[in-house]
């Protein structure tokens, strides 16, 4: 597996276009000419105003909707094969839990589809629930949980089959600041320990900077990548959010979102 990962990009998006309702008068160009290569183990954030195509990009990468033009490869496979091989886990913008299942059995779902035994499933699900600090709610129903708790269940579910790639669409949007920071650290820890590649959609600039190796800035109408901001914060710890490099990163991303790049930024910003 490591040989596959070293010889291929974790994700390779080439000349990708997504046009909804092409040819009709409510045509929307959601993505235009997206090129993005992600190395194995890299943490990428997508940031940009609402409607710029972040969710659509994740859905095309996950082979949940077809590209209009262009190609997507995951670990050298086409997106379609990658989905069949379960090479990624996804946490959607909505938690998308099944009300008729308990929290634990929601987390078990991907394992169930893989045909894993009852006992193993249960153990793994409880392990994951502990990770997102919801052990006490294993036998509750989703509607008994707050929005943020539901979102954490969805994250646990996306981790269930231990996929090499995680697609996360604003997973921490509904969390309070404290839980959010804790989940961010958990996520970074999981990445480091397992070498997962992550594509992470967020509306929070500090979150993007704190988590990422690269922040990809998008702009709408048509949805496209305008800047890529590399972040070099090194090992994250409690003081990281106070460092000058962190603030510089935040400024760089903010400027990029405003549509210009500053020379004051220490980071090298690639413009498109």
């Amino acid at each position: 597996m490591s040989s596959v990962q070293t010889s291929h990009q974790a994700v390779d998006v080439q000349g990708l276009w997504k046009i909804f309702n092409e040819g009709s008068n409510n045509e929307v160009t959601a993505l235009s000419d997206i090129n993005l290569s992600i190395k194995p183990g890299e943490f990428i954030s997508l940031i940009g105003p609402s409607g710029c195509g972040k969710s659509t990009l994740l859905r095309v990468i996950g082979d949940l909707t077809d590209a209009t033009r262009g190609e997507v490869f995951i670990a050298g496979e086409t997106a379609h094969i990658a989905r069949e091989k379960q090479l990624y886990g996804i946490a959607f913008q909505q938690a998308a839990l099944f009300d008729w299942r308990t929290v634990r059995r929601n987390v078990e779902l991907p394992l169930e589809l893989q045909g894993l035994g009852k006992k193993e499933r249960r153990e793994r699900a409880l392990e994951l629930l502990e990770l997102v600090q919801l052990s006490d709610f294993a036998e509750h129903r989703p509607w008994e949980l707050s929005g943020g708790m539901q979102q954490r269940v969805a994250i646990a579910r996306s981790l269930a089959v231990d996929p090499p790639l995680l697609l996360m669409d604003e997973p921490f949007g509904a969390l309070d600041e404290m839980t959010r920071e804790r989940m961010q650290n958990e996520l970074l820890r999981i990445c480091q320990e397992t070498g997962k590649t992550i594509i992470f959609v967020t509306h929070s600039i500090p979150e993007a900077v704190y988590l990422s190796d690269r922040v990809v800035v998008m702009s709408p109408r048509p949805g496209r990548i305008t800047h890529t901001v590399p972040i070099e914060l090194g090992e994250r710890n409690e003081d990281t959010r106070e460092t000058d490099t962190f603030y510089a990163g935040v400024t760089a991303v903010r400027e990029a979102l405003r549509g210009r790049s500053t020379s004051a930024s220490p980071s090298r910003i690639e413009e498109f």
């Binding site: 859905r59 996950g62 082979d63 949940l64 989905r83 069949e84 379960q86 990624y88 886990g89 996804i90 959607f92 913008q93 909505q94 938690a95 998308a96 839990l97 099944f98 009300d99 008729w100 779902l109 991907p110 169930e112 589809l113 129903r141 989703p142 509607w143 008994e144 949980l145 929005g147 539901q150």
Partner: protein
Amino acid sequence: MSTQTAVQSRRTGRFSGIWPPILIAVLFLAAWQIFVVARDIQPYLLPAPSLIVTNFFTDLSLMWAAAFYTGTTAFLGLVFGTVLGLVMALLASRFIVVNHLVTPLAAGLAAVPIIALTPILNNMFNITSRTPRVLVTMIIVLFPMFVNVTRGLLQVKPVQLELMRSMNAHPRTTLKVLRIPNAIPFFFTGLKVAAPLAVIAALVAEYFGGPQEGLGSRIASAAANTAYGRAWAYVVASIITGLIFYLVVVAVEKWTTPWTGRTQST
């Protein structure tokens, strides 16, 4: 959760539950009784509640038998109609072609007047048997079951379908894991409509000859014999039978699907 619902029921307790409808029913019956006695209304126009109640209890054992007979017809029709409705819904949700074929057919069946159908079925099948009545009931039950369950199977949140797709789930797995559980609340909605309808259908089907032991036959013969108090007493028994069918469905729903009627998670 428990504290919240407790607070809620305490707050609404005085104005909800079983007492308000009972109070209204008692007031209504009292007004009815006073009206009939004061104006000296003849029983063939409107019998007094007291007359109906007296008849109800004098005829009680016969009434039991009648309610049991009609209830059995209704139950059989309900079971067969539900099973057929479920099969049609599964096919319709799986194959768009079937959906286009079956939906107008089911709607057509729903539009068939039971009155026109019963004498024909009586001729087609053995009039002395229960069969034509069960068939009529089945046809009446079919439509609400089919429509509701089909909707439940198809009305799945797009994001849940995408989740199944991301896990590379086979359509059969999606049916089992997502569509069918999603359709269960819809199934009960259909059943709550179909169950009392089944009683009405079973009862009306008795007006067109055949065995005379059911509620419908008793109402018809009592009215023909100008025993209006008795006719009304059987109407009351019919209402109770329909209500029992409905309440059983409600109880089964509460017991089997604790997640319905809750705020849906996102």
